[in-house]
Protein backbone atom coordinates (compact mmCIF):
# COMPACT_ATOMS: atom_id res chain seq x y z
CA UNK A 1 0.00 0.00 0.00
CA UNK A 2 1.19 3.54 -0.78
CA UNK A 3 1.18 5.88 2.20
CA UNK A 4 1.20 9.62 2.56
CA UNK A 5 2.90 11.25 5.54
CA UNK A 6 1.21 14.12 7.38
CA UNK A 7 3.27 16.30 9.71
CA UNK A 8 2.49 19.34 11.84
CA UNK A 9 5.02 21.06 14.08
CA UNK A 10 4.86 22.96 17.35
CA UNK A 11 7.86 25.20 17.84
CA UNK A 12 8.82 26.89 21.08
CA UNK A 13 11.18 29.84 20.79
CA UNK A 14 12.74 31.59 23.78
CA UNK A 15 12.58 35.34 23.35
CA UNK A 16 15.69 37.49 23.76
CA UNK A 17 14.25 39.87 26.31
CA UNK A 18 16.32 41.10 29.26
CA UNK A 19 13.73 40.04 31.81
CA UNK A 20 11.21 37.26 32.30
CA UNK A 21 7.69 37.44 30.96
CA UNK A 22 5.91 38.36 34.21
CA UNK A 23 8.64 39.66 36.55
CA UNK A 24 11.91 41.64 36.50
CA UNK A 25 14.27 38.68 36.94
CA UNK A 26 17.06 38.31 34.39
CA UNK A 27 16.66 35.72 31.61
CA UNK A 28 20.42 35.27 31.29
CA UNK A 29 21.47 31.67 30.67
CA UNK A 30 24.08 30.07 32.92
CA UNK A 31 23.60 31.88 36.25
CA UNK A 32 24.03 30.02 39.55
CA UNK A 33 21.00 27.72 40.07
CA UNK A 34 17.93 29.48 41.47
CA UNK A 35 19.72 32.84 41.49
CA UNK A 36 17.39 34.47 38.91
CA UNK A 37 14.20 33.96 40.89
CA UNK A 38 11.75 36.12 42.79
CA UNK A 39 8.39 35.61 44.52
CA UNK A 40 6.56 35.87 41.16
CA UNK A 41 8.48 33.20 39.25
CA UNK A 42 8.81 31.04 42.37
CA UNK A 43 5.02 30.94 42.50
CA UNK A 44 4.64 32.43 45.99
CA UNK A 45 1.05 33.06 47.09
CA UNK A 46 -0.32 36.56 46.73
CA UNK A 47 2.03 37.87 44.08
CA UNK A 48 0.92 39.62 40.91
CA UNK A 49 2.46 38.87 37.51
CA UNK A 50 2.79 41.89 35.19
CA UNK A 51 3.36 41.36 31.47
CA UNK A 52 6.64 42.45 29.88
CA UNK A 53 5.72 44.74 26.95
CA UNK A 54 8.74 43.62 24.95
CA UNK A 55 7.37 40.05 24.90
CA UNK A 56 4.24 41.26 23.13
CA UNK A 57 6.29 43.30 20.67
CA UNK A 58 8.64 40.42 19.85
CA UNK A 59 5.69 38.06 19.41
CA UNK A 60 4.03 40.65 17.14
CA UNK A 61 7.20 40.80 15.03
CA UNK A 62 7.17 37.04 14.49
CA UNK A 63 3.45 37.17 13.74
CA UNK A 64 3.90 39.82 11.06
CA UNK A 65 6.97 38.09 9.60
CA UNK A 66 4.93 34.90 9.15
CA UNK A 67 1.87 36.66 7.74
CA UNK A 68 -0.33 36.03 10.78
CA UNK A 69 -3.35 38.15 11.58
CA UNK A 70 -2.88 39.78 14.98
CA UNK A 71 -6.04 39.61 17.05
CA UNK A 72 -7.42 42.92 18.29
CA UNK A 73 -7.76 41.41 21.73
CA UNK A 74 -6.02 38.48 23.37
CA UNK A 75 -5.57 37.17 26.90
CA UNK A 76 -3.77 34.69 29.12
CA UNK A 77 -5.08 31.45 30.56
CA UNK A 78 -3.89 29.02 33.18
CA UNK A 79 -2.90 25.54 32.05
CA UNK A 80 -3.17 23.39 35.14
CA UNK A 81 -0.94 20.40 35.81
CA UNK A 82 1.47 19.22 38.48
CA UNK A 83 5.11 18.81 37.69
CA UNK A 84 8.10 19.77 39.84
CA UNK A 85 9.51 22.21 37.27
CA UNK A 86 6.30 24.24 37.46
CA UNK A 87 6.20 26.04 40.80
CA UNK A 88 2.64 27.44 40.64
CA UNK A 89 0.92 24.22 39.63
CA UNK A 90 -0.11 25.94 36.40
CA UNK A 91 1.60 27.45 33.40
CA UNK A 92 0.49 30.87 32.23
CA UNK A 93 -0.18 30.50 28.52
CA UNK A 94 -2.70 31.62 25.92
CA UNK A 95 -5.53 29.32 24.97
CA UNK A 96 -8.85 30.51 23.61
CA UNK A 97 -7.54 33.95 22.64
CA UNK A 98 -4.01 33.74 21.20
CA UNK A 99 -2.04 36.75 20.01
CA UNK A 100 -2.25 35.88 16.32
CA UNK A 101 -3.59 33.32 13.85
CA UNK A 102 -3.85 32.27 10.19
CA UNK A 103 -0.29 32.83 9.01
CA UNK A 104 1.93 31.03 6.54
CA UNK A 105 5.47 30.64 5.26
CA UNK A 106 6.67 29.36 1.89
CA UNK A 107 8.98 26.40 1.30
CA UNK A 108 10.62 25.39 -1.91
CA UNK A 109 9.46 21.88 -2.74
CA UNK A 110 10.54 20.32 -6.06
CA UNK A 111 11.32 23.72 -7.49
CA UNK A 112 7.90 25.19 -6.65
CA UNK A 113 6.75 27.32 -3.74
CA UNK A 114 4.65 25.45 -1.20
CA UNK A 115 2.60 27.29 1.42
CA UNK A 116 2.72 25.93 4.97
CA UNK A 117 -0.07 27.28 7.16
CA UNK A 118 0.55 28.62 10.65
CA UNK A 119 -2.43 27.99 12.90
CA UNK A 120 -1.47 30.37 15.68
CA UNK A 121 1.30 32.07 17.62
CA UNK A 122 0.89 32.56 21.33
CA UNK A 123 2.92 33.76 24.31
CA UNK A 124 3.65 31.73 27.41
CA UNK A 125 6.15 31.21 30.20
CA UNK A 126 8.85 28.55 30.23
CA UNK A 127 9.13 26.03 33.09
CA UNK A 128 12.18 25.39 35.27
CA UNK A 129 14.85 22.80 34.67
CA UNK A 130 14.92 19.34 36.30
CA UNK A 131 18.01 17.24 36.86
CA UNK A 132 17.45 13.65 37.87
CA UNK A 133 19.70 11.98 40.43
CA UNK A 134 21.23 8.84 38.96
CA UNK A 135 21.42 6.93 42.22
CA UNK A 136 18.57 8.18 44.39
CA UNK A 137 14.87 8.62 43.66
CA UNK A 138 15.11 12.42 43.74
CA UNK A 139 15.36 15.26 41.24
CA UNK A 140 16.90 18.72 41.56
CA UNK A 141 15.08 21.82 40.42
CA UNK A 142 16.56 25.04 39.02
CA UNK A 143 13.94 27.75 38.53
CA UNK A 144 16.13 30.26 36.66
CA UNK A 145 14.30 29.33 33.46
CA UNK A 146 10.84 29.43 35.05
CA UNK A 147 9.10 32.47 33.59
CA UNK A 148 11.44 33.01 30.65
CA UNK A 149 9.25 34.17 27.76
CA UNK A 150 8.39 31.77 24.96
CA UNK A 151 6.35 31.97 21.85
CA UNK A 152 4.73 28.83 20.56
CA UNK A 153 4.28 28.63 16.82
CA UNK A 154 1.79 25.96 15.77
CA UNK A 155 1.70 24.87 12.14
CA UNK A 156 -1.13 23.34 10.18
CA UNK A 157 -0.65 19.64 9.30
CA UNK A 158 0.63 20.77 5.89
CA UNK A 159 3.96 18.99 5.61
CA UNK A 160 4.13 15.78 3.62
CA UNK A 161 7.66 14.52 4.35
CA UNK A 162 10.31 14.67 7.08
CA UNK A 163 12.40 16.72 4.69
CA UNK A 164 9.65 19.34 4.32
CA UNK A 165 9.34 19.45 8.11
CA UNK A 166 13.07 20.08 8.53
CA UNK A 167 12.90 22.72 5.82
CA UNK A 168 9.97 24.48 7.50
CA UNK A 169 11.87 24.47 10.79
CA UNK A 170 14.89 26.05 9.12
CA UNK A 171 12.68 28.78 7.64
CA UNK A 172 11.17 29.59 11.06
CA UNK A 173 14.59 29.51 12.69
CA UNK A 174 16.01 31.84 10.05
CA UNK A 175 13.18 34.33 10.50
CA UNK A 176 13.47 34.35 14.31
CA UNK A 177 17.21 34.96 14.12
CA UNK A 178 16.81 37.65 11.44
CA UNK A 179 14.28 39.40 13.68
CA UNK A 180 16.82 39.19 16.53
CA UNK A 181 14.12 37.98 18.90
CA UNK A 182 15.56 34.48 19.54
CA UNK A 183 19.15 33.22 19.54
CA UNK A 184 18.00 29.98 17.88
CA UNK A 185 20.30 27.74 19.89
CA UNK A 186 18.78 24.26 19.65
CA UNK A 187 21.31 22.53 21.94
CA UNK A 188 20.62 24.96 24.78
CA UNK A 189 16.91 24.68 24.12
CA UNK A 190 16.14 28.23 23.01
CA UNK A 191 14.51 26.76 19.90
CA UNK A 192 12.59 23.52 20.46
CA UNK A 193 10.30 21.47 18.33
CA UNK A 194 7.61 18.85 18.89
CA UNK A 195 6.23 17.03 15.88
CA UNK A 196 2.83 15.46 15.22
CA UNK A 197 3.06 12.77 12.61
CA UNK A 198 0.62 10.33 11.06
CA UNK A 199 0.29 8.33 7.86
CA UNK A 200 -2.70 7.57 5.67
CA UNK A 201 -3.22 5.58 2.49
CA UNK A 202 -2.74 7.79 -0.56
CA UNK A 203 -6.11 9.23 -1.56
CA UNK A 204 -7.68 9.00 1.89
CA UNK A 205 -9.10 12.30 3.17
CA UNK A 206 -9.18 11.62 6.91
CA UNK A 207 -5.99 11.90 8.91
CA UNK A 208 -4.54 8.78 10.50
CA UNK A 209 -3.94 8.50 14.26
CA UNK A 210 -0.93 10.61 15.13
CA UNK A 211 1.94 10.30 17.51
CA UNK A 212 3.66 13.28 19.08
CA UNK A 213 7.47 13.28 18.99
CA UNK A 214 9.63 15.09 21.51
CA UNK A 215 13.27 15.42 22.50
CA UNK A 216 14.84 16.27 19.15
CA UNK A 217 17.52 18.89 19.61
CA UNK A 218 18.77 19.49 16.08
CA UNK A 219 17.33 19.90 12.59
CA UNK A 220 18.93 16.60 11.64
CA UNK A 221 17.37 14.80 14.60
CA UNK A 222 13.92 16.16 13.78
CA UNK A 223 14.23 14.72 10.30
CA UNK A 224 15.70 11.42 11.53
CA UNK A 225 13.04 10.99 14.22
CA UNK A 226 10.28 11.66 11.69
CA UNK A 227 11.78 9.26 9.17
CA UNK A 228 11.98 6.55 11.82
CA UNK A 229 8.45 7.23 13.03
CA UNK A 230 6.97 7.08 9.52
CA UNK A 231 8.62 3.69 8.96
CA UNK A 232 7.43 2.44 12.35
CA UNK A 233 3.84 3.44 11.65
CA UNK A 234 3.91 1.91 8.16
CA UNK A 235 5.21 -1.34 9.59
CA UNK A 236 2.39 -1.48 12.13
CA UNK A 237 -0.33 -0.69 9.59
CA UNK A 238 1.05 -3.11 7.01
CA UNK A 239 1.02 -5.85 9.62
CA UNK A 240 -2.59 -5.23 10.48
CA UNK A 241 -1.98 -3.25 13.66
CA UNK A 242 -3.37 0.06 14.86
CA UNK A 243 -1.44 3.22 15.69
CA UNK A 244 -1.91 4.36 19.28
CA UNK A 245 -2.17 8.09 19.95
CA UNK A 246 0.75 8.76 22.28
CA UNK A 247 3.81 10.85 22.98
CA UNK A 248 7.12 9.30 21.93
CA UNK A 249 10.63 10.36 22.84
CA UNK A 250 13.44 10.37 20.28
CA UNK A 251 16.50 8.43 21.43
CA UNK A 252 19.40 9.94 19.54
CA UNK A 253 21.94 7.24 20.44
CA UNK A 254 19.72 4.35 19.37
CA UNK A 255 18.07 6.18 16.50
CA UNK A 256 14.57 5.16 17.59
CA UNK A 257 11.46 6.66 19.17
CA UNK A 258 10.13 5.16 22.41
CA UNK A 259 6.70 5.49 23.95
CA UNK A 260 6.55 7.67 27.06
CA UNK A 261 4.72 5.62 29.61
CA UNK A 262 1.45 7.50 29.57
CA UNK A 263 -0.49 8.18 32.71
CA UNK A 264 -3.81 6.48 33.30
CA UNK A 265 -5.87 9.44 32.16
CA UNK A 266 -5.11 11.75 29.32
CA UNK A 267 -3.97 15.25 30.18
CA UNK A 268 -6.80 17.44 31.32
CA UNK A 269 -5.40 20.91 31.73
CA UNK A 270 -8.62 22.64 32.82
CA UNK A 271 -7.70 25.91 31.12
CA UNK A 272 -9.38 29.01 32.42
CA UNK A 273 -8.74 32.76 32.01
CA UNK A 274 -5.99 33.98 34.34
CA UNK A 275 -7.62 36.61 36.57
CA UNK A 276 -4.19 38.09 37.43
CA UNK A 277 -3.59 39.34 33.91
CA UNK A 278 -5.74 41.83 32.07
CA UNK A 279 -6.56 41.51 28.35
CA UNK A 280 -4.17 42.88 25.73
CA UNK A 281 -5.64 45.17 23.12
CA UNK A 282 -3.58 45.68 19.98
CA UNK A 283 -4.64 48.57 17.76
CA UNK A 284 -3.62 49.25 14.15
CA UNK A 285 -1.21 52.01 15.14
CA UNK A 286 0.75 49.60 17.32
CA UNK A 287 0.83 46.98 14.57
CA UNK A 288 2.07 49.53 12.02
CA UNK A 289 4.76 50.77 14.42
CA UNK A 290 6.04 47.20 14.83
CA UNK A 291 5.81 46.55 11.10
CA UNK A 292 8.12 49.51 10.48
CA UNK A 293 10.74 47.93 12.74
CA UNK A 294 10.86 44.68 10.75
CA UNK A 295 14.19 44.10 9.01
CA UNK A 296 14.49 42.69 5.50
CA UNK A 297 13.49 39.03 5.88
CA UNK A 298 15.39 36.04 4.48
CA UNK A 299 13.06 35.36 1.56
CA UNK A 300 13.09 38.99 0.40
CA UNK A 301 16.85 39.14 0.78
CA UNK A 302 17.27 35.94 -1.22
CA UNK A 303 15.22 37.38 -4.08
CA UNK A 304 17.15 40.64 -3.96
CA UNK A 305 20.50 38.83 -4.09
CA UNK A 306 19.43 36.90 -7.19
CA UNK A 307 18.14 40.04 -8.89
CA UNK A 308 20.76 42.62 -7.88
CA UNK A 309 23.87 40.46 -7.77
CA UNK A 310 22.93 38.08 -10.56
CA UNK A 311 23.96 35.05 -8.52
CA UNK A 312 22.19 31.66 -8.69
CA UNK A 313 19.27 31.03 -6.32
CA UNK A 314 21.30 28.30 -4.64
CA UNK A 315 24.12 30.72 -3.81
CA UNK A 316 21.64 33.31 -2.57
CA UNK A 317 20.09 30.64 -0.33
CA UNK A 318 23.41 29.73 1.26
CA UNK A 319 24.49 33.34 1.70
CA UNK A 320 21.22 34.45 3.31
CA UNK A 321 20.73 31.42 5.58
CA UNK A 322 22.64 33.35 8.24
CA UNK A 323 22.06 37.07 8.64
CA UNK A 324 25.66 37.77 9.67
CA UNK A 325 26.93 35.87 6.63
CA UNK A 326 24.67 37.84 4.31
CA UNK A 327 25.97 41.10 5.83
CA UNK A 328 29.55 39.92 5.35
CA UNK A 329 28.89 39.05 1.73
CA UNK A 330 27.24 42.37 1.01
CA UNK A 331 30.16 44.23 2.54
CA UNK A 332 32.61 42.30 0.33
CA UNK A 333 30.52 43.09 -2.75
CA UNK A 334 30.25 46.76 -1.82
CA UNK A 335 34.06 47.00 -1.63
CA UNK A 336 35.13 44.87 -4.61
CA UNK A 337 32.07 45.21 -6.87
CA UNK A 338 32.33 41.60 -8.08
CA UNK A 339 29.26 39.80 -6.74
CA UNK A 340 29.93 36.48 -8.46
CA UNK A 341 33.58 36.30 -7.40
CA UNK A 342 32.64 37.38 -3.88
CA UNK A 343 30.00 34.65 -3.74
CA UNK A 344 32.48 32.01 -4.91
CA UNK A 345 35.12 32.98 -2.36
CA UNK A 346 32.68 33.32 0.54
CA UNK A 347 30.81 30.09 -0.23
CA UNK A 348 33.95 28.19 -1.16
CA UNK A 349 37.02 28.91 0.86
CA UNK A 350 35.72 31.12 3.66
CA UNK A 351 32.80 28.85 4.61
CA UNK A 352 35.01 25.76 4.30
CA UNK A 353 37.57 27.21 6.73
CA UNK A 354 34.83 28.23 9.14
CA UNK A 355 33.01 24.88 8.97
CA UNK A 356 36.22 22.95 9.58
CA UNK A 357 36.62 24.75 12.87
CA UNK A 358 32.88 25.12 13.55
CA UNK A 359 33.49 28.83 13.70
CA UNK A 360 30.96 31.60 13.22
CA UNK A 361 31.29 34.18 10.44
CA UNK A 362 31.27 36.83 13.17
CA UNK A 363 34.63 35.49 14.33
CA UNK A 364 36.11 35.07 10.87
CA UNK A 365 39.79 36.14 10.81
CA UNK A 366 39.37 37.31 7.21
CA UNK A 367 37.60 40.64 7.31
CA UNK A 368 35.21 41.56 4.53
CA UNK A 369 37.63 44.36 3.58
CA UNK A 370 40.56 41.93 3.25
CA UNK A 371 38.57 39.50 1.11
CA UNK A 372 37.37 42.33 -1.11
CA UNK A 373 40.96 43.56 -1.50
CA UNK A 374 42.10 40.10 -2.50
CA UNK A 375 39.36 39.79 -5.10
CA UNK A 376 40.35 43.16 -6.53
CA UNK A 377 43.99 42.01 -6.73
CA UNK A 378 42.89 39.00 -8.79
CA UNK A 379 40.78 41.14 -11.07
CA UNK A 380 43.51 43.68 -11.75
CA UNK A 381 45.94 40.86 -12.52
CA UNK A 382 48.30 41.39 -9.57
CA UNK A 383 47.80 37.80 -8.47
CA UNK A 384 46.41 34.72 -10.17
CA UNK A 385 43.43 32.73 -8.96
CA UNK A 386 45.80 29.93 -8.05
CA UNK A 387 47.97 32.22 -5.95
CA UNK A 388 44.86 33.60 -4.32
CA UNK A 389 44.01 30.10 -3.05
CA UNK A 390 47.26 30.08 -1.06
CA UNK A 391 46.90 33.67 0.00
CA UNK A 392 43.35 33.28 1.32
CA UNK A 393 44.45 30.35 3.45
CA UNK A 394 47.25 32.43 4.94
CA UNK A 395 44.80 35.28 5.50
CA UNK A 396 42.59 32.91 7.46
CA UNK A 397 45.46 31.54 9.53
CA UNK A 398 47.15 34.85 10.30
CA UNK A 399 44.41 37.42 9.94
CA UNK A 400 46.80 39.48 7.77
CA UNK A 401 45.70 41.63 4.84
CA UNK A 402 46.40 40.14 1.39
CA UNK A 403 48.90 42.84 0.38
CA UNK A 404 51.01 42.15 3.46
CA UNK A 405 51.11 38.42 2.64
CA UNK A 406 51.94 39.10 -1.00
CA UNK A 407 54.79 41.44 -0.05
CA UNK A 408 56.15 39.03 2.51
CA UNK A 409 56.14 36.01 0.20
CA UNK A 410 57.07 37.86 -2.97
CA UNK A 411 53.92 36.50 -4.54
CA UNK A 412 53.20 39.18 -7.09
CA UNK A 413 52.10 37.78 -10.41
CA UNK A 414 54.50 38.06 -13.33
CA UNK A 415 52.77 39.94 -16.14
CA UNK A 416 55.89 41.37 -17.73
CA UNK A 417 55.92 39.88 -21.25
CA UNK A 418 59.64 40.39 -21.75
CA UNK A 419 60.47 38.39 -18.67
CA UNK A 420 58.03 35.64 -19.59
CA UNK A 421 59.40 35.46 -23.15
CA UNK A 422 62.87 34.85 -21.76
CA UNK A 423 61.58 32.04 -19.56
CA UNK A 424 59.70 30.45 -22.43
CA UNK A 425 62.72 30.60 -24.72
CA UNK A 426 64.84 28.86 -22.12
CA UNK A 427 62.26 26.12 -21.67
CA UNK A 428 61.96 25.58 -25.41
CA UNK A 429 65.75 25.29 -25.67
CA UNK A 430 65.86 22.81 -22.79
CA UNK A 431 63.13 20.56 -24.25
CA UNK A 432 63.89 20.10 -27.96
CA UNK A 433 62.18 16.69 -28.19
CA UNK A 434 58.87 17.89 -26.80
CA UNK A 435 59.06 20.97 -28.98
CA UNK A 436 59.58 18.78 -32.03
CA UNK A 437 56.67 16.51 -31.13
CA UNK A 438 54.40 19.47 -30.52
CA UNK A 439 55.25 21.01 -33.83
CA UNK A 440 54.73 17.59 -35.36
CA UNK A 441 51.07 17.68 -34.26
CA UNK A 442 51.01 16.52 -30.62
CA UNK A 443 48.82 19.37 -29.42
CA UNK A 444 48.48 17.83 -25.99
CA UNK A 445 52.05 18.82 -25.20
CA UNK A 446 50.86 22.42 -24.88
CA UNK A 447 49.94 21.64 -21.28
CA UNK A 448 53.45 20.35 -20.67
CA UNK A 449 54.91 23.73 -21.65
CA UNK A 450 52.41 25.66 -19.52
CA UNK A 451 53.40 23.46 -16.59
CA UNK A 452 57.11 24.11 -17.20
CA UNK A 453 56.57 27.89 -17.27
CA UNK A 454 54.57 27.74 -14.03
CA UNK A 455 57.24 25.60 -12.44
CA UNK A 456 59.99 27.98 -13.51
CA UNK A 457 58.08 30.98 -12.16
CA UNK A 458 56.87 29.20 -9.01
CA UNK A 459 53.30 29.63 -10.17
CA UNK A 460 53.56 33.41 -10.38
CA UNK A 461 53.17 33.76 -14.14
CA UNK A 462 49.91 35.23 -15.35
CA UNK A 463 48.19 32.25 -17.00
CA UNK A 464 46.44 34.23 -19.77
CA UNK A 465 49.66 35.89 -20.87
CA UNK A 466 51.58 32.61 -20.71
CA UNK A 467 48.93 30.99 -22.93
CA UNK A 468 49.09 33.72 -25.52
CA UNK A 469 52.87 33.87 -25.60
CA UNK A 470 53.29 30.10 -25.69
CA UNK A 471 50.88 29.76 -28.61
CA UNK A 472 52.89 32.24 -30.65
CA UNK A 473 56.33 30.97 -29.67
CA UNK A 474 55.61 27.24 -30.00
CA UNK A 475 54.08 27.76 -33.44
CA UNK A 476 57.56 28.89 -34.42
Amino acid sequence: MEFETVIGLEVHAQLLTNTKIFCNCSTKFGGAPNSHACPVCLGMPGVLPVLNKKVVEFAMKMSLATNCIINKSCSFARKNYFYPDLPKGYQISQYAYPLSEHGYVFLEVDGAQKKIGITRIHMEEDAGKLMHDEHNPVSYVDLNRAGVPLIEIVSEPDMRSPEEAADYLKRLHEILVYLEICDGNMEEGSFRCDANVSIRPVGQKEFGTRSELKNMNSFRNVQRALEYEVKRQQYIVENGGNIVQETRLWDDAQGVTNSMRSKEEAHDYRYFPDPDLVPIIVDDAWIEAIRKELPELPLAKRERFVKDYQIPAYDAGVLTADKALSNYYEEVVRLCRSPKAASNWVMGDVLRFLNEEKRDIRNCPITAASLAEMISLIEDGTISGKMAKDIVEKMYKTGSAPKAIIAEKGMVQITDEGELLKTISAIMAANPNQLGDYRGGKDKLFGFFVGQVMKATQGKANPQIVNELLKKMLAG
Binding site: N24, N34, P39, V50, R261, K263, P275, V278, P279
Partner: protein
Amino acid sequence: MISKQEVEYVAHLARLEIDDAQKDKFTSQLNDILLYIDKLNELDTTGVEPMSHAIAVTNAFREDRIVDSLGTEKSLANAPDGRGEFFRVPKVIE
Protein backbone atom coordinates in the same frame (compact mmCIF):
# COMPACT_ATOMS: atom_id res chain seq x y z
CA MET B 1 -25.67 17.56 36.88
CA ILE B 2 -22.27 16.61 38.23
CA SER B 3 -21.70 13.02 39.32
CA LYS B 4 -19.74 11.61 42.23
CA GLN B 5 -17.28 10.13 39.72
CA GLU B 6 -16.62 13.59 38.32
CA VAL B 7 -15.95 14.90 41.81
CA GLU B 8 -13.48 12.07 42.35
CA TYR B 9 -11.82 12.83 39.03
CA VAL B 10 -11.48 16.56 39.70
CA ALA B 11 -10.22 15.88 43.22
CA HIS B 12 -7.59 13.58 41.79
CA LEU B 13 -6.49 16.15 39.22
CA ALA B 14 -6.06 18.66 42.06
CA ARG B 15 -4.26 16.00 44.17
CA LEU B 16 -6.89 16.26 46.91
CA GLU B 17 -7.59 13.28 49.11
CA ILE B 18 -11.20 13.27 50.27
CA ASP B 19 -13.18 10.58 51.99
CA ASP B 20 -16.47 9.12 50.87
CA ALA B 21 -18.66 11.37 53.04
CA GLN B 22 -16.88 14.44 51.65
CA LYS B 23 -17.39 13.18 48.10
CA ASP B 24 -21.15 13.04 48.66
CA LYS B 25 -21.16 16.43 50.33
CA PHE B 26 -19.08 18.11 47.57
CA THR B 27 -21.18 16.52 44.87
CA SER B 28 -24.33 18.05 46.27
CA GLN B 29 -22.67 21.41 47.01
CA LEU B 30 -21.16 21.66 43.53
CA ASN B 31 -24.54 20.84 42.04
CA ASP B 32 -26.10 23.66 44.05
CA ILE B 33 -23.48 26.03 42.70
CA LEU B 34 -24.04 24.89 39.13
CA LEU B 35 -27.78 25.29 39.56
CA TYR B 36 -27.25 28.84 40.77
CA ILE B 37 -24.95 29.64 37.85
CA ASP B 38 -27.55 28.14 35.52
CA LYS B 39 -29.97 30.80 36.66
CA LEU B 40 -27.70 33.39 35.02
CA ASN B 41 -28.25 31.60 31.74
CA GLU B 42 -31.85 32.77 31.83
CA LEU B 43 -30.61 36.31 31.14
CA ASP B 44 -30.63 37.41 27.52
CA THR B 45 -27.01 38.32 26.77
CA THR B 46 -27.42 38.84 23.04
CA GLY B 47 -25.00 41.52 21.90
CA VAL B 48 -23.04 41.57 25.16
CA GLU B 49 -19.29 41.03 24.75
CA PRO B 50 -17.96 38.17 26.87
CA MET B 51 -15.58 39.32 29.57
CA SER B 52 -12.77 37.48 31.33
CA HIS B 53 -12.10 40.15 33.91
CA ALA B 54 -14.04 42.01 36.55
CA ILE B 55 -12.27 45.33 36.03
CA ALA B 56 -12.17 47.28 32.80
CA VAL B 57 -8.38 47.57 32.58
CA THR B 58 -6.37 46.48 29.57
CA ASN B 59 -2.70 46.61 28.55
CA ALA B 60 -1.05 46.68 31.97
CA PHE B 61 2.60 46.38 30.98
CA ARG B 62 6.01 46.36 32.57
CA GLU B 63 9.21 47.69 30.98
CA ASP B 64 11.93 45.16 30.16
CA ARG B 65 14.34 46.28 32.91
CA ILE B 66 16.23 43.89 35.18
CA VAL B 67 15.70 44.28 38.92
CA ASP B 68 17.82 42.26 41.36
CA SER B 69 16.39 38.81 42.04
CA LEU B 70 16.20 37.20 45.47
CA GLY B 71 19.37 35.19 45.03
CA THR B 72 19.78 31.47 45.56
CA GLU B 73 19.81 31.46 49.36
CA LYS B 74 16.59 33.42 49.82
CA SER B 75 14.89 31.56 46.96
CA LEU B 76 15.48 28.27 48.78
CA ALA B 77 14.75 29.59 52.27
CA ASN B 78 11.15 28.30 52.46
CA ALA B 79 11.71 25.08 50.55
CA PRO B 80 10.67 21.92 52.41
CA ASP B 81 13.72 20.18 50.97
CA GLY B 82 16.80 21.44 49.20
CA ARG B 83 20.37 20.53 48.55
CA GLY B 84 23.14 22.96 47.70
CA GLU B 85 21.73 25.44 45.22
CA PHE B 86 18.75 23.28 44.23
CA PHE B 87 15.25 22.45 45.36
CA ARG B 88 15.03 18.71 45.92
CA VAL B 89 11.87 16.83 44.97
CA PRO B 90 10.78 13.21 44.65
CA LYS B 91 11.82 11.90 41.26
CA VAL B 92 9.10 12.25 38.67
CA ILE B 93 9.67 10.74 35.28
CA GLU B 94 6.79 11.01 32.94
